[in-house]
């Protein structure tokens, strides 16, 4: 108990001391020495007593240490601390003013008890292990930074404008830091998608993507050609000893292994890409390219430089030759990811088409049906309106899980399994949330407008289409963008209903791709990036309307 408690106490004191020190510096710069006396005393006391108390928890203590116990406390300790911070003052205040309020106090006490019992399961010394050992120089630097920073801030914040400026700078700084944090995964996605497999599974993280240099050459020993087969160009080695010229297909990958007849009209010789390596030839360092990998880790290479040896071929081993690599982006991850997709899907084109179809129908369906129904609920009077609307609001609470299976049976009964219809058609029946939102919006539009239309002889349908719909454009923009993203991302629908490769949308294709090609991170991330691009484009393009729409559409409460 003693070591842990002492550690806790010393940490508290040190934090207090550091805080008071910053306060003291600030006071000196802002007001002057005379008002800062107590700050100095407090900080000195905190720092001296805090570091004076032994805090050895049975491991080597660094010379200087930053007491970081609290930021890394386990979750229950956090809860406990904050509960205590609320509970204790209340207790004290209550006893002073005589205004005891039992119920909240009991609640807080119970909460603290829960936290305590949670903590009882934890290893006590580990809870308090938070010292950060740092070098003395670095410690001095940090210290100087703290003092300097406080001085600068205090200088600028001399007057109201200065305070504003400091506040703005702090806000911007926080925003920059936050956005860096939020965008880091995206950056990592992009970086990974441009890296070679060996860099993604190497011995340490790599930030700069590297590419292996290759040399293009015409292989005369095993001619590499391409031809068109079944409407698609295929690449491969010309097969030996066949009566008619045939190709052993190597690419596109899904067709690998086919031996196909050549079509004289479209056949053409192609260059192979050989990996460029550095190796030695009779004791002389040379740059060469690999013509062929041989059994047992050997490779046949041809010298590229130095010039006198150029064209010389010899055999070396994988361990004696190093690939030549330089920083660069491996765009092939993208082409290969698409190449990997089944040829029946036009290498992903069909996925795109299906997704676009889904998006188009969903957006149109959502906008039309929701505004239509919302207009009915907000402006047309009919018996049972409030009852029906109550029902509509109630369905918002209904989990989709309840109707998932029976819906499948309904669509099966209608013979629509393995089509995209069950995925998009329901969007033409208006979703409760959007109707609710649009109804609120319709309500803000003056009735006079509608009355004028009525006097002009418009029937309600025409009023809705020509008068009301243009009024709610901002809300429609928001719902449209949301519908777009929802349709593009929809996973559960396709997962349940679609089973033909030709009918998959992009979202589901990403999951299938990642479970098939789980180890190929570059390809996986490239495909994930590709699946993001269309929504990203729509968002970047429509974001202005979107943001304005959200603000105008009453989503901000009420």
């Amino acid at each position: 108990m003693s070591a842990s408690l002492l550690f806790l106490a010393s940490t508290l004191l040190l934090w207090f001391g550091v805080g008071a020190l910053a306060g003291a510096v600030y006071q000196v710069v802002r007001i002057g020495w005379e008002r800062s006396r107590w700050w100095w005393i407090a900080s000195g006391a905190g720092l001296i007593f805090g570091s004076g108390i032994p805090h050895d928890l049975g491991r080597p203590t660094p010379k200087l240490w930053l007491p970081l116990v609290f930021p890394v406390m386990p979750f229950p300790s956090w809860l406990l601390l904050s509960a205590a911070l609320i509970f204790l003052p209340r207790l004290c205040l209550g006893s002073v003013t005589g205004a005891w309020r039992w119920r909240p106090l009991l609640g807080w006490a119970a909460f603290i008890a829960v936290c305590l019992s949670w903590q009882a399961h934890m290893d006590p010394p580990k809870l308090l292990r938070g010292a950060l050992g740092i070098e003395p120089a670095a410690g001095a630097g940090l210290f100087a930074l703290l003092v300097g920073g406080t001085v600068v801030v205090a200088r600028i914040a001399q007057n109201r404008r200065g305070i504003d400026r400091v506040r703005n700078a702090a806000v911007t700084l926080a925003l920059v830091a936050g956005s860096a944090l939020f965008c880091l995964p995206l950056l990592w996605l992009l970086l990974t998608s441009f890296k070679e497999q060996s860099d993604n599974t190497g011995d340490h993280l790599i930030w700069v993507p590297m590419v292996t240099q290759t040399h293009a050459y015409f292989d005369t020993d095993r001619p590499y050609v391409s031809t068109v087969w079944r409407g698609e160009r295929v690449w491969g080695t010309l097969a030996a000893n066949t009566p008619h010229p045939e190709i052993d297909v190597e690419r596109p990958y899904p067709l690998m292994g086919w031996r196909v007849p050549t079509d004289p009209a479209t056949t053409r010789p192609e260059q192979r890409l050989g990996t460029v390596v550095t190796t030695t030839y009779r004791g002389q360092p040379v740059t060469a390219f690999v013509r062929r990998e041989l059994v047992g880790g050997e490779r046949e290479v041809e010298v590229l430089s130095p010039p006198p040896l150029q064209g010389r071929r010899f055999t070396t081993t994988q361990s004696e030759s190093q690939n030549v690599r330089h920083p660069g982006l491996r765009w092939q991850n993208y082409t290969e990811a698409l190449e990997w997709l089944p040829p029946e899907t036009g290498h992903g084109l069909l996925y795109l088409r299906n997704s676009l179809w889904l998006v188009l129908t969903t957006v149109v369906g959502t906008l039309l049906s929701c505004s239509f129904v919302a207009y009915g609920f907000s402006r047309v009077r009919f018996p049972g309106r409030s009852a029906l609307f109550g029902l509509l609001v109630a369905t918002m609470m209904l989990p989709t899980a309840v109707t998932m299976l029976p819906r499948f049976l309904v669509w099966r009964w209608l013979g629509a399994v393995d089509t995209l219809v069950p995925v998009w058609l329901p969007h033409f029946t208006a979703s409760a949330f959007n109707v609710f939102l649009l109804r609120q919006f319709f309500k803000t539009i003056p009735v006079e407008l509608e009355d004028a239309a009525k006097i002009d002889g418009c029937n309600p349908l025409r009023t809705y289409w020509q008068v009301m719909l243009p009024q709610i454009k901002p809300a429609l923009a928001v719902i449209g963008v949301w519908a777009f993203m929802g349709a593009w991302n929809d996973f559960m629908g396709p997962l349940l209903y679609v089973s033909s490769a030709e009918k998959l949308p992009v979202s589901y294709a990403v999951q299938l791709f990642s479970s098939d090609k789980g180890g190929e991170f570059g390809l996986m991330m490239a495909f994930a990036t590709l699946s993001t691009l269309p929504v990203l484009a729509v968002f970047l393009f429509g974001q202005k309307y979107f943001v304005e729409g959200v603000q105008l559409s009453g989503l901000g409460g009420k």
Partner: protein
Amino acid sequence: MATRPSKWWRDKSVLAVWTGLALSSLFCAQGCGHTRDHRTNLIVWGVTLGPNDKGQADVFREFERQNPDIHVQTLMMGSGGMNPQKLMTAIVGKVPPDVVYQDRFTLADWAARGAFEPLDPLIARDQGRDPRTPTADQYYPETWDEASYKGKVYGIPWMADDRIFVWNRALFREKARALRSAGLDPDRAPRTWSELLAYSRVLTEKNPDGTLKRAGFIPNFGNAWFAMYATLNDARLLSPDGKACTLDSSAAREALEFMKKCYDVLGGAENADRYQSTFRGEGNDAFFTGQVAMKIDGDWALGGIARYAPRLDFGSGPPPVPDDRFHRRGRFQDVASVWTSWTGGYAYCIPHGARHQEAAWKFIKWVTSYEARMLEGRQQDALNRTRGQMTFPRLTAQVRATDQSLKDFMPKNPALAEAVKWHFRLLPVSKVRPVSFAGKVLWDEENTAADRALHGKATVDAALATASQNVQRILDEVNDEDRYPVANLAPATATGLLGVVLGGVLLIARKHSGGLGKLGRKEALWGYLFVAPWVVGFLVLTAGPMVVSMVLAFTQSNVLEPSRWVGWKNFNEVAVQDRAVLIQSFTNAFYIAGIGVPLGLVTGLSVALLLNAVRRGAALFRTLYYLPAVVPGIATVVLWMWILSPDPRMGLANAAWNVTVGPWFDIPSPGWLSSEAWAKPALILMGLWGAGSGFIVWLAGLKGVPNELYEAAQIDGARPAQQFWSVTLPQLSPLVFFNAATGFIGAIQIFDPVYVAANVPGTVASDRLTVPVYQLFTNAFGYFRMGYASALAWIIFLVILAVTGVQFLLARRFVHYEVDS
């Protein structure tokens, strides 16, 4: 603003983008059309042809050459292996593939439900007419029987595998002295279980802090599940008639006890898991690097050795057997072979309702023929040669092909040759998993039980007893199904639907019994027209299905067979018998929702407050913070699983952890999705990434707070913090409530990330990360236990209803609503 000239241009470009998209989609449709031709499209699931599968590709190609009117389309679709949902949905939805390459031990499962076609009539018809017709005498009996159920053949076995014991000779030599002093011979492999434990004890090395430096033997490393040890101990997991589950027999318990002892040597399963999470694949396999000294593994593992560690000095032999078996004592007195192993493999099947049955049968006859198997070996070898890789003899279910393959491709490397010989020697004496319609459930349950027992979540006896009961229930369900009356669901459903419609009409009619004027009636008609889309959708897609769901909850049905009334049995199963799973799934969901939603709200609100305060660059920041939400959900999960990969050499999160939090505070990097404790925080983190985008709604809310309130507060001398607590937050409270309520309801229904994570190997067992909707999904669409799933759906509904109710009660206390004047 409306008069800004740029707006016209912008609107036009919106139009242009849409036109472009539409045109390009049309173009896609055109471009892809050409692959469709007059040929029969034979769809084969469970097979993908990768760049290393030339042999198989050539076999398919040869089939197309012989049958120019058939086009073979192969697809993985996550089927064949352990994910039955897609196939089941396709069969039930009447759009099945034509051929499925399916794991044999699950075949009976499908056959029992009538999901696969029996092949006997086809075999009987073609026998003697077509020399390629597969017959039982060509196959290893165990493999053929595994593909049969109740005397009918449902699949033609293709490959077969078995497992042998391999040990790192070099390591044994290095530890020779220690081994000798323990009375063990460093030049041979352990042959019995007690020897194996003794060897492992000597070879295992630990760091001072107890973590592993080297493991002697990890029972689940390589490819040996509980099934392997049960096989070695001759434990029968089902009674011979298939009606009783004997997963808790003494032999099975002994097998699991043995696994536990192996883990005890390593300092427990948790310790071994942590160690295993640092293992690498391919060339850095833990067995090559000496991180693990001995393992039980399948024949496919030899390819890795030949490719990445051709000089590895290793020995091979049969998996060590229980001591009594080795000495032929006790119940092993009459055992035919001391050595045994566990075999499995795949078979080609035809699903029920396949559109091109004849073509499918022709295809199966060809791919399983001796010629095709030989062609496969030859072509694969041809590819391997150009790559500088070795070809191994292929274990297949067909005796003749296997023998020929052994002759053709015997490796020259003596260590590899020895290993190959052991694989072939063990194949005839290997055993398969029990053939039963509950095969998949048995497999899942036995592994769950093993996992629980090994991780100390339950005793061996208790874990196996629970698992046994669970399997028994499934067995009884089918064995006793005649107890329940066959149900005709149509009248009940129709009555329910009628009731709903009538009730609705009556309600409206009663409330408005007063007559409407002529104008009023006309307007009412318009009103009904306007809300008709929603009413129709509600009836067909919500109310109707709910009635169906209610009816189904009292039945046992799977679409393919007649339904039966079972009363409250389903609810009893969900809430009482499967209580543990139900509680676990809801605990997980509430954990994720309870921590994730408040954190998400706080994140969104903080971003909004900052954005509201910043003077310059708000538009840029807005975009940056919204970006994560734009990334499609599945791509997000895929990306985060990569970032959170436990290996700090690959995962960004743990790499950062290892240079900051790890060394500072002496906390080992978390296993995220591969560890039980960190899986849920990982999911929360994934959700939180997109939660920054919530600012957009908050920002709108902040703009809606009347400025006068702030001015008044300022006059009262309130500082910014005070203004926030006493003006901003109360004003925003309706929004907070709304977002919290909808966010919570959404988070409890979390599904996508769990589904994606569960389908990637190496993540924590899906039963521990399970959430209600995932549970519902697997029962509904994986097993089509529609009664069970419906009952579960109603329970989920009730829980969410209760949660919402509580939220509304809380809202009454804490939410501040403006009073409309």
